[in-house]
């Protein structure tokens, strides 16, 4: 399982301070999510696109990620044009297509994609490790930071274990179908993962206690906020202001 697909690279965007990235991404997401003007949101999508170009990400991979996002949005397109009443622009048999509904669906589509693109461009280009470091330095609760680190660390291990179990099932000729046998088999698979992980967590705790763990999280790399961080901050604030003022 290859996670963190976009995190490798040495572009300007990759080198930004994770704290700055988190703050800018959060600010931008909130402003776009609350914006209700088509022009503003259309403008907003330029910001993540510029960052993605700067980060030299593989455009094809970025666009495949957007497919997932747009399934829920596509589902809303099936309804909104017909249910948000207003001016009729087209009659489709017994159904009437309303202008307001189409505009609303379009607005949602742009907003959704814009926010997801900014997450890819800013947060996707840092490793989870760096981002959690950033969260810690921004004052996130200590226990939550621990959870993030441990959870991410063990996703890989649990996923490997899952693959071993699934391969064993396939070797025995298991084919998933809609029946009780399938559900029972998957349940035992999940049960086994839970049991193995529970036992593993006991070993992790002992190993940590052996190394003198007392619940403190030590930061080893101290980062300085540099000039390019200020530039990104300033430009994002500028763009945010433009989105807010465009009506």
């Amino acid at each position: 399982m290859h996670l963190e697909e976009f995190a490798l690279g040495d572009s300007i965007v990759h080198k930004l301070d994770p704290r700055v990235k988190i703050i800018v991404a959060a600010l931008f997401s909130v402003i776009v999510a609350l914006s209700s003007s088509l022009h503003g949101t259309l403008l907003s999508i330029c910001f993540p696109f510029a960052l993605i170009l700067l980060a030299r990400l593989d455009m094809k991979k970025v666009l495949t990620r957007l497919v997932v996002v747009n399934t829920f949005v596509g589902f809303l397109w099936l309804f909104l044009p017909f249910t948000e009443h207003g001016e009729v622009i087209y009659t489709l048999g017994p159904l009437e297509v309303y202008r307001e509904g189409v505009l609303h669906a379009l607005l949602i589509t742009i907003k959704s994609n814009s926010i997801v693109l900014v997450v890819i461009a800013l947060l996707g280009t840092s490793s989870v490790h760096d981002l959690v470091h950033g969260l810690h330095e921004l004052g996130a609760p200590n226990k939550l930071v621990h959870l993030f680190f441990f959870c991410f660390r063990y996703i890989h291990v649990v996923h490997e274990e899952y693959h071993r179990l699934v391969n064993a099932m396939k070797m025995r000729g298991f084919k998933p179908r809609t029946n009780m046998h399938t559900y029972r088999t998957y349940s035992y698979l999940v049960g086994m993962l839970l049991v193995k992980s529970f036992d593993r967590s006991a070993r992790i705790l002992s190993a940590m206690e052996c190394r003198g763990f007392k619940g403190t999280f030590y930061v080893l790399e101290h980062r300085e906020i540099g000039r390019r961080d200020y530039v990104v901050c300033a430009s994002s604030i500028l763009i945010s202001l433009m989105i807010v003022t465009l009506r």
């Binding site: 997450v119 959870c151 839970l194």
Partner: protein
């Protein structure tokens, strides 16, 4: 079900964040440092389980397991689900930053409620009582999640009405499958590691 970015109104998003903050605070308070690895590694399992697709008729759905999550973790389900959803948002772009609060709330609150309600019956000696409770925990969590998502859409605008209805209907088959899977998973754990269900009040027979 994840609600995408850019759909919900500001009050709904803000309520989501406020309630999730409270839930996470309570959850973290109840987890001691020596329980952290357990909660974290179980969160990893729930993350991986959400990648498993089970067939339902001609379609397939991924496992949610928030019923099991509630039974095993109690209030710690809040931070566990928040971490899981954040990582999904970061790594797969399922949802994003502004919906993190509301998406955590719609999944974790049903988990906590159904987990504590149904957990009481796991002590029962009768397989039937236990089975019903386990099914209710799994199916009920999904039902409540579906209803919560629909309520969020409706609170944003009445134009979302038909879409919200369809979401609830689409949750029904998933509900049944999750109920069944919860029965099997919990019965398996009771046989193999009953101490994992201590939160739900199952006596620890292995000592």
């Amino acid at each position: 079900m994840h609600i995408s970015e850019g759909i919900l109104s500001a009050p709904v998003l803000a309520t989501g964040y406020a309630c999730t903050a409270v839930g996470v605070a309570v959850g973290l308070k109840k987890v001691d440092y020596d329980k952290l690895p357990e909660v974290a590694v179980l969160s990893s399992v729930f993350f991986v389980a959400s990648l498993i697709h089970v067939p339902i008729g001609p379609s397939a759905a991924h496992l949610v397991l928030n019923g099991v999550c509630g039974l095993l973790l109690g209030w710690a389900a809040f931070p566990a689900i928040l971490v899981g959803l954040s990582l999904q948002a970061l790594l797969f772009q399922f949802g994003g930053l502004t919906t993190l609060g509301i998406n955590t709330l719609t999944m974790a609150l049903p988990a906590v409620v159904m987990g504590s309600l149904c957990g009481m019956f796991l002590r029962s000696k009768s397989t039937l009582v236990r089975g019903v409770a386990e099914f209710a925990a799994g199916a009920g969590s999904i039902l409540l999640s579906g209803l919560a998502v629909a309520a969020c859409l409706l609170a944003t605008g009445s134009a979302f009405g038909p879409a919200a209805k369809l979401i609830v209907v689409a949750h029904v088959p998933i509900m049944i499958v999750e109920g069944l899977i919860t029965i099997f998973v919990v019965e398996f754990l009771m046989k193999v590691r009953p101490q994992m269900l201590e939160k739900a009040g199952v006596p620890n027979l292995t000592g």
